[in-house]
Symmetry: none
Subunit: 144 residues, 2 copies
């Protein structure tokens, strides 16, 4: 800002000096203006690259390097959330896109039981919909 102000002052002085030389020529004002334009366009460009360039954009690169031997890691998460094994079992089937009825048929229990487990699991996950529960489970690493 200070530099810019100083430049302004210098320019005004320069301006006072140069106008006497240029005014005697025809079309001098056009040339004069063009010179000013070029000069300040350059100055602006320079300033733009100098002052605003350090803007860095952080780019996230997906690193495949997360095999993270999670064979029982989800079990820890499960315990921490107070989710029972049965509830997690049902959650996995929910994440597969099965309906409550299909889950019941798969696990040989009634649809009501599935609903009960779902309700409790959703409650512990802070989810109100099964899709939300799936999303939360993924974030928490509950699902492989």
């Amino acid at each position: 800002m200070l530099i810019f102000g100083l430049a302004g002052g210098v320019l005004v002085t320069l301006l006072q000096w140069t106008e006497f030389h240029f005014l005697v020529l025809e079309h001098s004002v056009a040339i004069y203006g063009a010179l000013i334009a070029i000069l300040f366009a350059g100055a602006g460009l320079w300033l733009g690259t100098r002052l605003l360039a350090p803007r860095e954009r952080i780019v996230e690169i997906a690193v495949p390097a997360v095999p993270t031997s999670r064979f029982d890691a989800d079990d820890n998460v499960r315990e921490r959330l107070g989710i029972t094994r049965r509830e997690l079992e049902i959650l996995k089937l929910v994440a597969r896109g099965l309906s409550n009825r299909e889950i019941g048929a798969t696990l040989f229990v009634s649809e009501n039981t599935v609903k009960t487990h779902c309700s409790r699991a959703f409650d512990k996950l802070g989810a109100r919909r099964r899709t939300e529960a799936v999303q939360r489970s993924r974030e928490l690493g509950l699902l492989s």
Copy 2:
């Protein structure tokens, strides 16, 4: 570039016109030059920020990162399945666990519209439930 060229032409014309008005005044050249200076300084600054690609700093972040190296591949998959951009947009929100009502509020459309898009998308995916649609989408690489 075209816009910049046009702006240049307009400026030259404006320059020709204004000089006759300003030349009769004392110090008019100074004001004129200052205007040009400010204008082109701004232009240069704008160009500087616009043309110079923001330097990117690559930061490696451990991300669940499905091994699938697809950057725009989902667009190909989308086309292949005949799923429209809007439908995919809604699918992504479905995968986030949002309800139809919330999706509508997010995209500023009615819940009915969301339902329509969902139905068509589910149909194209061969899914009958939203959870199933999410699962299918993940398998097909439709979702990041």
